[in-house]
C-alpha cells in the first residue's frame, strides 16, 4: 500500500519536473532562423561543388594541365576533361571541362588528386534547378563568367 502512494508521489513529481523543463524552454529565445530571409553565416570551408581556380587574381586563365587525374580518380565518373595540342603551347590546352553535379558525391578526391591545385570547392550551397541539365556545369564557362 505504501508503494502505491509512493508511486503516485514519485510519478507525479517526475511529471511536474518535466513540465518545468518545457516551461523554461518557452521563456528561452528561439533558436531557429527564418531561412530564406535570414541566413546563418556558413563557414567558408564548406565543400560545395568544384570550380576551376584562376591563375591569379586578375587573370581569367586557369591552372589545368589536362592530366586527367581528377576524372580518372573520380569514383562517380562525373568529370569529363578533354584537351588538345595547340601549336606554340607547351603541353595540352583544356577544351572541355564538364562536371556532372547530379552524380557527384562531393568527396573531394578530384581536388586532392590535382597536382596543380587547379580545382577548388565552391562555397555555394543553395543550388536548385528545374532540370537535370542545369547541373551539368561547364566549368570553363563558369570560370570565365566570374
Amino acid at each position: 500500500m505504501s508503494g502505491y502512494f509512493r508511486d503516485i508521489y514519485t510519478g507525479g513529481k517526475s511529471l511536474l519536473i518535466g513540465l518545468g523543463v518545457t516551461f523554461k524552454a518557452i521563456i528561452k529565445p528561439v533558436v531557429t532562423v527564418q531561412y530564406p530571409r535570414e541566413k546563418i553565416d556558413v563557414t567558408p570551408n564548406i565543400r560545395g561543388h568544384i570550380e576551376l581556380v584562376r591563375f591569379d587574381e586578375n587573370d581569367s586563365r586557369h591552372n589545368c594541365l589536362v592530366c586527367g587525374m581528377c576524372a580518372k580518380n573520380c569514383p562517380c565518373g562525373c568529370l569529363t576533361v578533354e584537351g588538345e595540342k595547340r601549336e606554340g603551347v607547351k603541353g595540352k590546352v583544356l577544351t572541355v571541362f564538364d562536371y556532372d553535379f547530379t552524380k557527384c558525391s562531393l568527396c573531394g578526391i578530384c581536388v586532392e588528386s590535382c597536382s596543380r591545385t587547379a580545382l577548388t570547392f565552391s562555397s555555394e550551397y543553395e543550388l536548385a534547378g528545374f532540370s537535370r541539365q542545369e547541373f551539368h556545369f561547364d566549368l570553363i564557362k563558369r570560370l570565365e563568367g566570374k
Binding site: I8, L15, G18, L19, V21, T22, F23, A25, I26, K28, P29, V30, V31, T32, Q34
Partner: protein, 334 residues
C-alpha cells in the same frame, strides 16, 4: 431591419437555425484559434518559430489550412463502407455543436439552459466514441480499427472517473443545472479551493485529457504505432471535421472544468461579472486550461494501453469514489 427581427421572432425554427449557424461558427473559430495557439506554443516549447508565413506571426495559417482542406478531395478507400465512412466525421462534429448550445458563457449569454445541463452534456459527449468507432470500422484499415477499438475502451474507462468527480460537485450544489452550479460559486469560493473538490478537479483534468484523446493519452491516433489511428484514411474535410471536433471537445472539457470547479463566469475575488465580463472570465479560464493541456501534450511521451487502463481503474476510480464518499459525508455534516 425591424422586419427581419420580427421574422426571426415569429418563426422559432428560423431562430434555432440562426443560433445553430452561430454555434457552428463558434466551433470553427475555436478550432482555428486553438489550432494556431497549439502550433505556436508547441513551437515555443521546441524553441522554434512555428507558423510565420501567412499574416503577421502566421495568424492566417489555420484559415488557409482550412481552405486547403476544403479544396481537397475526400478519398474513400475502395473497400470502405461508403455511407458510414462519410457519416463518421459528421457524427463526430454534430454533438460538439449541440453541447456548445448548452454551455453558459455568462449569466445571460447561453444557447439554451437546461435543468439537467450536465447530464445532457455528458450524454452528448459520449457520442464522440461512437463516431470514432464508426470511422475506424468503416475505413477498412487495420490501423484505423486498432484506433477505434482503443478509443472505445479508453472512453468507457474514463467516463467513470469523470462522472464520479463531477458528481461530487453535484452533491455539493444539489443541482444538475450549470447556471445554478456557477451561481453557487459566486465570490471567490470556487469549488477548486475546497480540498475534496480540488482532488476531484485534478482527477477530472486527467480523465478529461484521456476522454478527449489528447496526449499523453492519444492512443486512438498514436502516430508512431498506428500511423494516424482512426483517421488514417480520412483526407480533405473529413479529416478537417475530426480536427475541428477534437478542439471542440477540448473546449468543452475545459469549460466543464471551469464551470464545475473554477466558478464559470464568476470573476476572481467577486469582481463584477456582467454578461460580457462574465464571458470574458469564463473564456479566460477555459483558455488557461486548454493551454495547460497543450503544454502537457508537448511534454510527455504516450502511455501504453494497459497502463492507461491501470491509471483509470487502479488510481482514478478508487480516488474519485473515496472522494465522492467524503464529499457526501461533508455535505451531510455541514
Amino acid at each position: 431591419m425591424q422586419q427581419i427581427i420580427d421574422l426571426i421572432q415569429t418563426y422559432s425554427l428560423l431562430r434555432m437555425l440562426i443560433a445553430f449557424l452561430v454555434l457552428i461558427g463558434i466551433v470553427f473559430l475555436n478550432a482555428i484559434v486553438m489550432g494556431y495557439l497549439e502550433r505556436k506554443i508547441a513551437a515555443r516549447i521546441q524553441r522554434r518559430w512555428g507558423p510565420m508565413e501567412i499574416g503577421v506571426q502566421g495568424w492566417l495559417q489555420m484559415i488557409l489550412d482550412g481552405v486547403k482542406m476544403l479544396a481537397k478531395q475526400l478519398i474513400v478507400p475502395r473497400d470502405a463502407d461508403r455511407f458510414l465512412f462519410r457519416l463518421a466525421p459528421l457524427l463526430c462534429f454534430t454533438p460538439v455543436v449541440m453541447i456548445f448550445a448548452a454551455l453558459p458563457f455568462s449569466k445571460a449569454l447561453y444557447g439554451i439552459n437546461l435543468h439537467i445541463g450536465l447530464i445532457y452534456i455528458i450524454a452528448m459527449a459520449s457520442i464522440n466514441v461512437f463516431a470514432i468507432l464508426i470511422a475506424g470500422w468503416s475505413s477498412n484499415n487495420k490501423y484505423s480499427m486498432f484506433g477505434a477499438m482503443r478509443s472505445v475502451a479508453q472512453n468507457i474507462a474514463y467516463e467513470i472517473p469523470i462522472l464520479l468527480s463531477l458528481l461530487s460537485v453535484v452533491l455539493t450544489t444539489a443541482s444538475f443545472d450549470l447556471q445554478k452550479i456557477v451561481e453557487a460559486q459566486s465570490g471567490w469560493l470556487w469549488f477548486a479551493v475546497y480540498p475534496n473538490l480540488f482532488v476531484a478537479f485534478v482527477i477530472y483534468l486527467i480523465a478529461g485529457c484521456a476522454e478527449t484523446n489528447r496526449a499523453p493519452f492519444d492512443l486512438p491516433e498514436a502516430e508512431s504505432e498506428l500511423t494516424a489511428g482512426f483517421h488514417t484514411e480520412y483526407s480533405g474535410f473529413g479529416f478537417g471535421l475530426f480536427a475541428v471536433a477534437e478542439y471542440g471537445n477540448l473546449f468543452i472539457m475545459a469549460s466543464i472544468a471551469s464551470i464545475m470547479f473554477l466558478g464559470g463566469w464568476n470573476g476572481p475575488f467577486g469582481l463584477a461579472s456582467g454578461p460580457l465580463m462574465g464571458a470574458f472570465w469564463f473564456l479566460s479560464k477555459v483558455f488557461v486550461l486548454m493551454l495547460v493541456m497543450i503544454w502537457v501534450r508537448w511534454t510527455y511521451p504516450r502511455v501504453r494501453f494497459d497502463q492507461l487502463m491501470n491509471l483509470a481503474w487502479k488510481y482514478l476510480i478508487p480516488f474519485s469514489l473515496v472522494n465522492l464518499l467524503i464529499t457526501a459525508f461533508l455535505v451531510k455534516m455541514i
